[in-house]
Subunit: 114 residues, 2 copies
């Protein structure tokens, strides 16, 4: 991942991609940024020769964006990508007024075929 961030930095993409890519190696966290920023983050991760898989993680409303990112990257930019796995889950998030609420999550693993 250190190398992946270095590549981004060289391409002057660090500001866009820093937040998205800095927490886990080869993982893109989907939030409220424009969809194409995440597509760019996925392509940047795969630009390292040794990267075979990239995970997209999202929760709540961002789940739809995560599916968009996977589909746009695969159909428009990297035709050799496939959806390797999709895991659904639930996380307990703290409420402001106390207690927790359940939020759905998705993890999409994209893999690059040779």
């Amino acid at each position: 991942m250190a190398k992946c961030l270095y590549v981004c930095s060289q391409a002057n993409l660090y500001e866009i991609l820093g937040d998205i890519m800095s927490k886990e190696p080869n993982t893109v966290f989907i939030g409220r940024n424009p969809t194409m920023n995440y597509v760019l983050a996925v392509i940047t991760c795969f630009s390292r020769e040794e990267t075979k898989e990239v995970n997209l993680k999202a929760r709540g409303q961002a789940i739809s964006t995560a599916v968009d990112v996977a589909e746009i990257t695969r159909r428009r930019f990297m035709k050799n990508l496939k959806v390797e796995r999709v895991n659904l889950g639930t996380e307990e998030m703290p409420r402001e007024e106390g207690g927790t609420r359940a939020v759905s999550t998705i993890e999409i693993t994209l893999s690059k075929s040779p």
Copy 2:
């Protein structure tokens, strides 16, 4: 599916579930109705002894709701359900001003273990 609709009708659920369940057997189309209506539709489908799998289909923003429906049904109401498959895809939808636009889709297959 005919039988599944009959069950709904008997329980006075036809109005709620008619639109959601009437197009393909054992398939629930997720749209803009309240999430719990879809959860009820899934439980109703599985209430038939012979139903082993139910598909949830959604596109665009409704994809997040589809994941919510799968997770709520599995965690709160039917602990013996599991997510059998998740397929992602893209559909071309006609634009009002002509041409088409790509919309992401999801199909979640839930299966009941004995």
